[in-house]
């Protein structure tokens, strides 16, 4: 197991290295931060001076190696705009994103899983049909649309909930539902189909013959075995959300990583873009690994050698 983790860790490093090359090259080719920073009425000399001060007049491979050398030492450079270390900015925005992600996850799982189980245990019943309708809606409605509709209905018309910014728990409701609705629908569908699959298995029949109560059969014997696809999906989704959710955070003016990413991309703030990408890829890769390890716990037949 340890050897497996070691190998995966090494692979992860290679992957992060690859990601950083791509991000570095793409940002440097596409944008010129100086053209955005300086007043358009600046002279050509001022442009040259600023480029030189920022080290942008160096060939791109030289810039990359400088970046890499510093990154190894944990220094991701100073934001071109904020006069602060780029990674510090990223870490400042992380709590808001974690808060939103956790809220969205709670919404997603607390509705998706029970409704999925209910749908599976009573297929083609009214509850199942309503559940499926929700799943269809949740997956089909893009979250920018859902977000705007929620803002219009609950904020502008009914004035029930705050619609932008970070504050108390009530500020979390709309963004969390908007962000979680797609995942909620997916979790529900996955739970339903995995449960239907498992409920047909011989050991479920055995459990029932043994005289176990229906709730024990469903929740203990069936559900645990149906968990693997759900855990895989939720793990990857969680990793994705922790990297910041651009659309939801923008619509609700939520001060998280997604906003920071958009902001730094639109201002060509390379060090910040690279730091966000680095953090997001580390989170994603570690979550992947964590999910793989979780499999062993869920299904003891799985082992890594």
């Amino acid at each position: 197991m340890l050897k497996y983790i070691g190998k995966r860790f090494f692979h992860s490093l290679l992957m992060i290295f690859g990601i950083m090359i791509i991000i570095f090259v793409v940002t440097h080719i596409l944008g010129d931060p100086v053209a955005l920073m300086l007043d358009p009425a600046s002279t050509k000399q001022e442009f040259e001076l600023m480029r030189h001060q920022l080290g942008l007049d160096q060939p791109i491979h030289v810039q990359f190696f400088v970046f890499l050398k510093n990154a190894v030492h944990g220094d991701f450079g100073e934001s071109l705009r904020a006069r602060e270390p780029a990674m510090r900015l990223v870490l400042q925005h992380l709590p808001a994103t974690i808060e939103l992600t956790v809220a969205a996850m709670i919404f997603m799982l607390s509705i998706g899983v029970p409704v999925g189980i209910l749908s599976a245990t009573k297929p083609y019943s009214a509850a199942d049909r309503i559940g499926k309708l929700f799943a269809l809606g949740g997956q089909a409605a893009p979250n920018f649309w859902l977000g705007i509709m929620a803002i219009l209905v609950f904020g502008v018309k009914l004035k029930l909930l705050p619609i932008s910014g970070r504050g108390g728990l009530n500020h979390l409701v709309l963004p969390a539902i908007t962000l979680g609705s797609f995942g909620m629908a997916a979790v529900m569908r996955l739970t339903r189909s995995a449960m239907l699959d498992v409920l047909d298995k011989d050991y479920i029949r055995t459990a029932r013959i043994k005289g176990l109560s229906e709730s024990k059969v469903v929740l203990k014997h069936a559900f645990k075995n149906a968990l693997i696809p759900v855990v895989t999906y939720v793990g990857l989704l969680l990793a994705g959300l922790l990297g910041g959710s651009v659309i939801t955070e923008t619509i609700y003016a939520w001060p998280g990583l997604g906003r920071l990413a958009v902001q730094s991309i639109t201002t060509n703030d390379f060090p910040v873009v690279q730091s966000v990408a680095f953090l997001a890829s580390v989170v994603f890769i570690s979550m992947n690994l964590l999910v793989d390890i979780l499999y062993c716990w869920i299904d003891p037949r799985i082992s890594y050698k």
Partner: protein, 504 residues
């Protein structure tokens, strides 16, 4: 007699009581803005228009612009020319910073030196290329020197440079400036949650009439739709930058109003005379101007929020020649001019436009292209992501064509627009020695009458030669809740909150 004296005493009590009440600031005004401070430290690469606007509520300049575009004395009570290259500022006495430090000439010198230090990479430093140092005469007098005679120097300092406490910097360094704003302004810094909100409270010791509101909050809501929704829901009192297409609908919002004001940004199109041979011909450039129906664009695309222009100078700035009329819409004349220039069947050209850099930019470009094609010019419109567009525009990377641009004269002076003409500026697509000479001569005339007279001549030249495809002067739209009294919509981005009061 007795009744009279009782009435008198009651009146006095009421007066004392009411004046006491009115002196206490009360209520909160919340403003939604699109961008945040990049840093509380004003230098570095990220001094945005919104950043300046928020800063000036806490840290003042020597002079400040009012919403009307006029200059008002602030930390300087007066200023005069000592000789052609020296400006003398008399500083206000008895002013204290928010942390209690007294304000003196040393703070001014420190602040200006701090902004001008190349190591601090201030993004507006280019505008101060002519700065030649600052000298302290006494505790309340300073001289600012310029390398060449510079008539708009005070204007420039007024808009861009904030005065911070030297003592605070000596004790806390850069880190201090990044955490706190210690100025002398009408509001004191309370807190800043990056990308969320900036909170300030009234400075009741301000040397001018202190603010009537107790708290000012700037909330950062980047998405226009969300900003408007929050305003409609009553979550914020004032919003800026309402796009023209939303104005008619938002005028119906209850308990609020839309304030529209002629701005200081001119929208026009750069004509690339370097790479497009057709555009070298003055008759072709004039034909383009005759071929575009600006009024139709303003009416159809901008919902009437704009004023057509005959030059690239915004109408409200000092020195703008408002007697110059826009080119009338005359497609026949355009065709005749094209024929005369040797293009009886028109020619093909590319139009480039950013997407979302200016309100309705892409729609305006498409409308222009449509009208040009009616005059026989075959257009190919390229809509680009805003960043790439500016990068390629500043880098002269396009292979020739017509490029949409908007320039805001934040200094309320024609100087900024003149600044865009000479060949050493990045967006110059009409390099001409004669223009260079004309502009540099005008920009150093110290007598305002002579300077404006000369600027008028240049504007007539720009119009006559049709150096650009002139479009319109932008109108800025603000949404203001009725509970807020005293808001005056500024033509630039600089909202002023210290004159506001609230009804509840």
């Amino acid at each position: 007699m007795r009744t009279k004296s009782v009435v008198f005493v009651v009146m006095v009590c009421l007066f004392v009581f009411s004046s006491h009440v009115s002196a206490q600031p009360k209520g909160t005004v919340t403003v939604a803005v699109s961008t945040d401070f990049m840093s509380l430290d004003p230098v570095g690469g990220g001094y945005t228009g919104t950043g300046q606007m928020m800063h000036r509520h806490m840290a003042e300049g020597l002079i400040e612009f009012g919403p009307d575009g006029k200059m008002y004395p602030r930390l300087a009570t007066s200023w005069k020319l000592v000789d052609d290259k020296t400006w003398r500022f008399t500083l206000r006495k008895g002013v204290k910073f928010h942390n209690g430090n007294p304000f003196t000439a040393a703070d001014v010198k420190f602040s200006i030196d701090y902004f001008m230090d190349p190591q601090n990479k201030w993004n507006y430093r280019a505008l101060f290329a002519g700065h030649d140092g600052i000298q302290i005469i006494d505790d309340h007098t300073i001289d600012i020197k310029t390398k060449a005679p510079d008539p708009v120097m005070p204007t420039r300092w007024a808009t861009r440079v904030r005065i911070f406490s030297k003592k605070f910097f000596d004790e806390n360094g850069n880190e201090g400036l990044q955490r706190q704003v210690i100025g002398t302004g009408p509001f004191k810094f309370v807190s800043w949650q990056r990308n969320d909100r900036v909170t300030m409270e009234a400075n009741t010791d301000w040397y001018l009439d202190p603010p009537k509101i107790k708290t000012a909050i700037f909330r950062i809501i980047p998405e226009m739709g969300a900003r408007v929704a929050e305003w409609q829901a009553g979550g914020v009192d004032i919003i800026e930058g309402i796009p023209p297409f939303m104005v008619p609908q938002l005028k119906k919002v209850q308990n609020a109003e839309i304030q529209s004001v002629l701005g200081v940004r001119a929208m026009y199109m750069l004509l690339d005379t370097i790479k497009s041979p057709e555009l070298k011909d003055k008759r072709v450039r004039q034909a383009l101007n005759y071929a575009v129906d600006k009024e139709a664009i303003i009416k159809g695309v901008l919902n009437g929020t704009g004023t057509s222009l005959g030059t690239h100078v915004p109408l409200r700035v000092a020195g703008a020649d408002t007697s110059i009329k826009p080119y009338p819409y005359d497609p026949e004349k355009a065709k005749a001019l094209l024929k005369e220039a040797g293009y009886p069947n028109g020619f093909a050209i590319k139009l480039y436009s950013p997407n979302g850099r200016y309100p309705m930019d892409k729609e305006v470009t498409l409308a222009v292209a449509d009208q040009l094609s009616k005059a026989g010019i075959k257009t190919d419109v390229q809509i680009m992501e805003s960043n790439l567009y500016i990068k390629d525009l500043a880098g002269h990377n396009f292979g020739g064509g017509i490029y949409l641009i908007g320039m805001a004269s934040a200094e309320w002076d024609v100087d900024y627009a003149l600044n865009q003409l000479p060949s050493n500026f990045v967006l110059c697509y009409y390099p001409d020695k004669a223009v260079d000479e004309m502009v540099s001569k005008t920009r150093t005339l110290m007598d305002p009458n002579k300077r404006f007279e000369s600027a008028h001549k240049i504007q007539k030249f720009v119009h006559e030669e049709a150096l650009y495809l002139f479009l319109y002067n932008e109108v800025r739209n603000y949404g203001v809740s009725k509970r807020v009294k005293g808001f005056e919509a500024p033509g630039d981005e600089l909202m002023t909150l210290w004159r506001l009061s609230v009804t509840d």
